[in-house]
Amino acid sequence: MTELIQVIILGLLIGGVYALLASGLTLIFGVMDVINVAQGALIILAAFVTWALWDATGLDPLAGLLVTTPMMFVIGYGLYMGTIRWIQGKPPSTSVLLTFGLALVAEGVMGLVWSANLHSATPSYFNQSFRLGDFYFPKAQVFGCAIAVGVLVFLYIVLTRTWLGRAIRAVSANMSSARLVGVNPRDVAALTFAIGVATTGAGGSIAAVLYPFLPGSHYAWISRLLGIIVLGGMGSLPGAVVGALMLGVAETMTATYISPRWATMVPWAVIMIVLLARPQGLLGAKLREDVAV
């Protein structure tokens, strides 16, 4: 029993971080119908920058997010204006191919700059845990999860309480109507993309502490993120949180009770089952099936 609870604790702690990473992806999809396959690579990029800062200046990696988040925001904005903007409205495969291309370029660039060895930011607490009775809570995971929750709450406030947030939700719901009420969809799309990518900044910094990474790690991340947003419902932020927690626990339990070998299968299995049985996921909106007028 103890082991089960410990496993669940570990799963939830990871799930919190996953939630932050998935939020950007689901936000981008919800607003502009683009699956940003490069999200994984951007996470790794933020991790590398965090590591470089830590390596050069000793700056605590978790504090590094103060640098990486704005940096990724700018990068996201630039990517949108430079490439994504031109393919809005095209069929889904186009956005997947284009963003896959971006991911490959990012992987190559990171490999050139930092080489393909595994890197890991290891501040003093990376191998320590908090103890509570029979259970242990790895410190890095706890800090990371706490920060992730904080950023998510901040994101939620932006989405619900600010004008920009409302504009984003309007465009997400109905682009032409949003235009009618004075919202410029292109600006909103650019900002949304930038925000979505900015979350990888914070998430990447946290990931840099939790897991060693190399440029090729983005595949593992994007598979997880896709699994999460599919499970939670593509486009739904609360869905991403729920999906992330569930996936974190599922992965950890599979690794413990079945085998670590099958843990990597979990996101893909989730994707297949959900897309085939209930495509809108847990909390996603069921689209009106009308023939369009």
Partner: protein, 625 residues
């Protein structure tokens, strides 16, 4: 300037060059590739061509499901892995040598087995995956690839897991080292291209293109979309599986990560995009551009893995943004575009109608019809979230009538049409057609039973010609006819007749997307007639077209009705409705509030209140109609 260019492109020499001349060029290239190993011992280039042929085969296969049918798969290399492992397992585990260093059964014998196994996977998995579309399908193909990789990795009892499988070394003379692989792949490439070509010119291919253009429309005109899609997926897989078998033997060693690799899938897509998706030779051209480029940059220029990734990524981005259609279609567009500029357009030409030859079958059926209404709806309900679009509608359409369905906007008329033709299932209620219950049937089955429907905003297959649009609808599903030429036989004959009937026969070769709205409506009607339907549902036939054309359509409706076709028409044009139709059904707020003759309906206070308004009644009395 463009006039001169256009004239040049239209001239005989250029036509010779781009027609037979081009074919000669392709033939010469093929002969060159075929003879290369005989003329040159250089195994480095032989290796390069082998890899290129592999990609050409994979691209050609991908093209069938993603180019023709529009279902973009990003995990097509899964079939390479399936084929490779099938061959390896058969030749190592089942028919392997007794001792190391000995030869078992030559793996080439298992290449056809690999093709069959790949096809079986495609059929089974395709049937499941292709219930989804768009984003979901793309993601699912990637998931399929990774799941196969993981299963192969973890099922080590069968596949030897991460250790991989080693195949025996080749037994023949070093001199001809690569020849069997080279020619096997060359042959497979030719077969793959031939399959592509055969599909494209067949009815199957036309159906696939229709699915790509507008899947729901294709279903509503009788194309059996589930089977067509699975056939396309199987066709896209078999030669890739065979190639996988050959490739496994060539490498002599396969492992799960190498054989189920997403980057290879992406490379395949890139190659086809470069050459031109949806064309026959595009995938081959793309492979012959991309593969040598990648190989050469690695070996000659010593470019490392990172630069290669960047190169791939940049190419992918450039192609998607700047040249999404690929080389061959872009050149084709350029040429035909220029040519068409030089010629005048047909769009303004007159429409000339002819009377329609009656089809014997339709008349025979009309004589033998069972009693009772042709279409009956009992208690149908449909809601979208909180909105009850159709709220308990029960009505009947009698045989041989021209029945009108009117009602204010938002009363549920189009939704009701969608329930009848199968575009969406009712939440509750029954729909009966010609004595059979149809509310559980898919749209193409209903089309086969004799329901035809036009759309408020016309839906045609825009990139096909008018004639192709009219030939596309299918009266029933027949395996034998799948392989027939797309535009041929009695169907083509009938299509011409129908086009003459609606007056569009002069536009037969024009691209449907460039027609005017009214012409599209006529073409859509001709499409529907191709099904020899018992019931034709017209959704606002008079909307957005001029009065002369309205009269034209009215004449056609009368003529068809005389021949025995029943009509159900949704219309807002009251004079047309009241003059043409009897009975009239009135819908308001999702319910049928009245039915009867035009006079009865006009006088009904509930109708007047909901829809017509007191003003109209006044205008009628004043004699304006």
């Amino acid at each position: 300037m463009s006039q001169a260019v256009a004239r040049a492109l239209d001239s005989r020499p250029f036509r010779l060059l781009s027609g037979p001349g081009l074919r000669l060029l392709v033939a010469a290239a093929l002969v060159g590739i075929a003879l290369y190993p005989i003329l040159s011992d250089n195994r480095y280039y032989q290796n390069m061509i082998i890899l290129t042929l592999l990609f050409a085969i994979m691209g050609s296969g991908w093209n069938i499901i993603s180019g023709f049918t529009g279902y973009v798969s990003l995990g097509q290399s899964v079939f390479l892995g399936i084929g490779a492992y099938t061959t390896a397992l058969f030749s190592v585990r089942l028919f392997g040598p007794e001792n190391p260093g000995e030869q078992g059964v030559n793996p080439f014998w298992f290449v056809p087995v690999a093709a069959v196994v790949a096809g079986i996977f495609a059929a089974v998995v395709g049937a499941i995956l292709m219930r989804t579309r768009g984003h979901s399908f793309v993601i699912l193909t990637i998931a399929f690839l990774f799941v196969m990789q993981l299963v192969t990795l973890n099922w080590s009892g069968l596949t030897n897991g991460n250790h991989g499988l080693t195949l025996p070394l080749t037994t023949w003379d070093r001199e001809y080292q690569y020849w069997p692989f080279y020619y096997a792949l060359f042959g497979l490439m030719l077969l793959s291209v031939a399959l592509s070509w055969w599909i494209r010119r067949s009815k199957l291919g036309m159906g696939l293109v229709a699915i790509r253009e507008d899947e729901d429309k294709a279903a509503s005109v009788g194309v059996n979309t589930p089977i067509y899609k699975v056939l396309a997926y199987v066709g896209s897989a078999v030669f890739i599986g065979a190639a996988g078998g050959v490739y496994a033997y060539y490498l002599t060693f396969i492992d799960p990560r190498g054989m189920f690799d997403i980057v290879i899938s992406v490379q395949v897509v890139l190659a086809v995009l470069i050459g031109g998706r949806g064309t026959i030779w595009g995938p081959v051209l793309g492979a012959f551009i991309l593969e040598p480029l990648l190989e050469t940059t690695n070996t000659e220029l010593g470019i490392g893995g990172n630069e290669r990734l960047i190169l791939l990524g940049v190419l992918l981005g450039l192609i998607v943004l700047l040249l999404p259609r690929g080389i061959i279609p872009s050149i084709q567009d350029l040429v035909t575009g220029q040519r068409e500029k030089a010629r005048g357009g047909l769009v303004g030409a007159r429409l000339e109608r002819k009377p329609l030859r009656v089809v014997e079958r339709a008349q025979a059926e009309a004589r033998e019809a069972p009693p009772g209404p042709l279409l009956e709806i009992r208690g149908a309900e449909k809601r979208f979230g909180g909105v009850r679009a159709v709220d308990g509608v029960s009505l009947a359409v009698e045989r041989g009538t021209i029945t009108a369905l009117i009602g204010p906007n938002g009363s549920g008329k189009t939704t009701l049409f969608n329930l009848i033709d199968g575009t969406m299932p009712p939440d509750r209620g029954e729909i009966w057609f010609d004595g059979k219950r149809i509310d559980g049937l898919p749209p193409y089955r209903r089309a086969h039973l004799g329901i035809g429907r036009t759309f408020q905003i016309t839906r045609l297959f825009r990139n096909m010609s008018v004639l192709e649009n009219v030939v596309a609808p299918l009266r029933d599903f027949s395996w034998r006819r799948l392989g027939a030429d797309a535009v041929s036989g009695p169907e083509a004959q009938r299509a011409h007749e129908l086009l003459e009937f609606v007056g569009m026969h002069r536009f037969a070769d024009m691209r449907a997307g460039s027609l005017s709205y009214g012409q599209q409506k006529l073409t859509e009607l001709a499409q529907v007639l191709m099904l020899d339907p018992k019931l034709i549902m017209l959704d606002e036939p008079a909307g957005g077209i001029n009065p002369t054309l309205i009269a034209h359509i009215e004449e056609m409706v009368h003529e068809l009705n005389r021949q025995g076709t029943t009509f159900l028409i949704v219309e807002h044009n009251m004079p047309l409705v009241l003059g043409l139709c009897d009975p009239v059904l009135v819908l308001a707020r999702g319910q049928c509030i009245c039915q009867g003759s035009p006079d009865e309906v006009q006088a009904d206070p509930a109708v007047l209140d909901a829809y017509l308004g007191a003003d109209f009644a006044l205008e009628q009395k004043a004699g304006v109609s």
